[in-house]
Symmetry: C2
Subunit: 327 residues, 2 copies
């Protein structure tokens, strides 16, 4: 943890903001279960638990942050309609949540997104715009042209607070947890979880995991400011954010103990193990944490209680097949 | 339900036998969760619940019956070691349960069984014998040669009573259920579930589902006695038993309201939906019930509470891929 603080740093989300978020979103969402895996526990020599956020509405944790943000928009902001950018899970969440509020939504998604994620996003009622150009630039251009309200996929205190409700559930349902492992895309999920847990129990270690082909947060931590990558290349589309946020970098600096990277082959192997042994569909982004554990990237103490957040399960069968050939 | 009863009919398992089974096996096994699916409920116009027996130890309901049987063996029967026949899930359960008791196990499996099921059976400690010959004949021959104790995969009152604990959990956790849909291989699971539920609430409908390529129970019901099929042909290896049992036929005659059939294409589509929408791994055998619902083979009353038993999740990624090409 880096305690250095500059006057221009954005303020940290606090515990109360996360508790408030839960008040706002709890009735619309699932409190997801935590499962244990005897097989993986034996293999790793620890007590391994899995937070099954893949059972969340829309198939990932994303609606937690989106709903909290939508709750806080003004009537005028809602009336304009919302826009966001996403490779899939956040797009599905915005489309679903906006429809619940009767708000129009526009989702800018990269060409090549999983067809099942595109279909699901349209299915919830949102308009999908596919682009081969820079995703953020395209989104901001359309936002200005159409005068829409932007819902940032991660770099927003209200989104971070919503994702933090995952952390509340972890520490309430598994109070003796020693280490929590979370994948990092833009960093919204780990920022929220780390804040929720560290502000209650600073002895719990929080470890972030990035794909080697999209490690904006690792580079941002090294450089001390948010890095934008020219390109990303990973099967973990849910972790393929090409930049870290100002807010998320600050939370990771403050509350995350370590960030490690895993490659696509390691991720694919972890997906296979979760599917075959735990019987749940983890998308590659959700399996990154287990991949890091299986490849000894995280120092473990025998019999420790380790929890991996399985952040989403939006994976179509066609993609599953392609995982077999990842090298 | 056919109430005709002949003196030579085997006795029915009663409710107390199932309650006793639970006493014997509960501490070793999971009480599996029941999940709902908003997507599938909307699509079917009912309230659909899924009994997630795929999270059971060894990945299917099978250890319930096996453990109950093992508990009742004499010391001498255990000392000899046990043998059974199975395409996979029962083999895994026997191997796992026997190892817990320090009992040697031999499992006769058909050539062409899923490699992941063969590997898992060996991994739990049992000896696997693969055969291209008639499975039951081969098993009985080896049993006599080696003087082993047979654990029948379904046609045994203690096995049926063990599987019946699934029914106890259903009626306790979802007391307002209207219809329970269960796949039929040899009929052990549906016999136990139907007994547990009908003896408490005869108004709950129990529907069985067989693959068209392995419909021994349907034919046995028509003929009034257990039918042996010359060959079976279905992707649902967990339902590919080539014969119905004397005990199981009797229970199905007594307690099951209807048995319907589904083809492999319908099963494959249901597997895909469960994986993509419910985020759990259902093997084809487990998806047969949903397949019957999706293809209007079961008469539904709008807003009824329907429960499908997802009986197992032992499916390797290679098999998943092949499901796409089922026609």
């Amino acid at each position: 943890m880096n305690e250095a603080h500059h006057p221009q740093d954005p303020p940290l989300v606090d515990r109360q903001a996360i508790l408030n978020a839960r008040q706002h979103i709890a009735t619309a969402l699932h409190r997801t279960p935590i499962a244990s895996s005897a097989f993986l526990s034996d293999r790793l020599g620890v007590r391994l638990s899995l937070k099954l956020e893949l059972f969340q509405k829309t198939g990932s944790f994303k609606p937690r942050g989106v709903l909290n943000k939508l709750m806080h928009l003004s009537a005028d902001e809602r009336r304009k309609g919302v826009i966001s950018l996403s490779a899939g899970n956040h797009a599905q969440a915005v489309s679903w949540a906006a429809s619940r509020f009767g708000v129009a939504s526009t989702l800018v998604m990269p060409q090549g997104s999983l067809q099942s994620k595109i279909d699901a996003t349209r299915g919830y009622g949102g308009e999908v715009i596919l682009t081969a150009e820079n995703l953020l630039d395209t989104c901001l251009m359309i936002q200005r042209e159409r005068d829409l309200t932007l819902i940032h996929p991660f770099d927003d205190p209200l989104v971070i607070a919503g994702q933090g409700t995952v952390g509340l559930e972890i520490i309430e349902d598994l109070p003796a947890v020693d280490v929590v492992v979370v994948g990092i895309g833009g960093g919204g999920l780990i920022s929220g979880i780390a804040t929720a847990i560290k502000t209650l129990n600073p002895y719990v270690k929080i470890i972030g995991v990035e794909p080697t082909g999209a490690c904006a947060m690792s580079q941002s931590l090294e450089g001390g400011s948010p890095v934008h990558l020219n390109k990303v290349n990973t099967i973990a589309d849910g972790l393929a954010a090409p930049f870290a946020g100002h807010h998320t970098l600050r939370h990771v600096q403050k509350y995350v103990d370590q960030v490690v990277t895993v490659d696509d082959r390691e991720i694919a192997e972890a997906v296979k193990l979760i599917i075959e042994r735990c019987k749940v569909i983890a998308e590659p982004a959700a399996a990154a944490g287990l991949a890091a554990l299986l490849t000894d990237k995280i120092d473990l103490i025998p019999e420790q209680s380790i929890l991996c957040v399985l952040s989403g399960g939006n994976l179509d069968i066609a993609r599953l097949e392609s995982l077999k050939t990842v090298r």
